[in-house]
Amino acid sequence: MLWNLPFITVVVLTLIGLATVLLKKNIIKILLGINILESAVNLFLIALGYRGGGVAPIFTLAPSELMVLPTPQALVLTSIVIGVATSALVLSFAMVLKKRYGTVDINKIRRLHG
């Protein structure tokens, strides 16, 4: 069903992201998987708010009064910034681990066993 293409893309992106997180051993690749998942959820949210033929909800010289829903855009903005913050923290951790262990492979740095 072609008109649901954005949602199908969300499904595909989610599966790619989850497979990356679960199967890859490199911390950087895991982080990339998380970022793909975040993109999927952002696309999901923004696709929920689309109204056929609508324009961006900005009244400054808008071409038409039919506008898409503004709330998902606000939610996605929040979600993107949170994603950036998470990536920054994960990358800092990865750098410290690289410095202490000399590798970013989670199988080689596993000294905790739980």
Partner: protein
């Protein structure tokens, strides 16, 4: 980096700065706002850091100043919101919109050309967030570089 890259970065940095500030200032009229504008400005900072080396950059991008910018932005944001309590209103109440004072011009409803002096506390919050993101995203890059620097790899 080579002299060409450094010169280009020198020329581009003020341009990026002004463009980012434009995005921040027009956040309530056009697409954009504090986060987007702050991120654009931080890109300028990243460009300078890439063009020069970490040691040269720390001369004029000081961590304490950037952290101060971050704190000023956040305190400004929460302060603007808390000021509503001082006026006897609810936290986050938009006490400037339509008041006739700063940023308080009444707006014509519907589609219009836009007027900078509107939207109450929204531009103030945009500026606060813009300053915060400017300091925040730059300082993260500096922290990571300092981690590399100590290791020497």
């Amino acid at each position: 980096m080579s002299r060409i890259v450094r010169t280009a970065a020198d020329i581009l940095y003020p341009t990026i700065l002004i463009f980012g500030l434009y995005i921040v200032a027009h956040g309530h009229l056009t697409p954009g706002g504090g986060f987007q504008g702050g991120a654009v400005i931080a890109t300028g900072g990243a460009l300078v850091i890439v063009a020069y080396s970490y040691k040269e950059v720390t001369g004029w991008l000081k961590k304490n100043v950037l952290l101060g910018r971050e704190v000023i932005g956040l305190v400004g944001f929460i302060g603007v919101a808390l000021l509503a309590l001082a006026f006897g209103q609810v936290f986050f109440f938009n006490y400037l919109a339509g008041s006739g004072s700063l940023f308080g011009m009444p707006v014509p409803y519907g589609i219009n050309a836009g007027e900078l002096n509107t939207a109450g506390v929204l531009p103030l919050m945009n500026f606060a967030v813009g300053i915060e993101i400017w300091g925040g995203l730059t300082i993260v890059i500096l922290y990571m570089l300092s981690g590399l620097e100590k290791e020497g790899c």
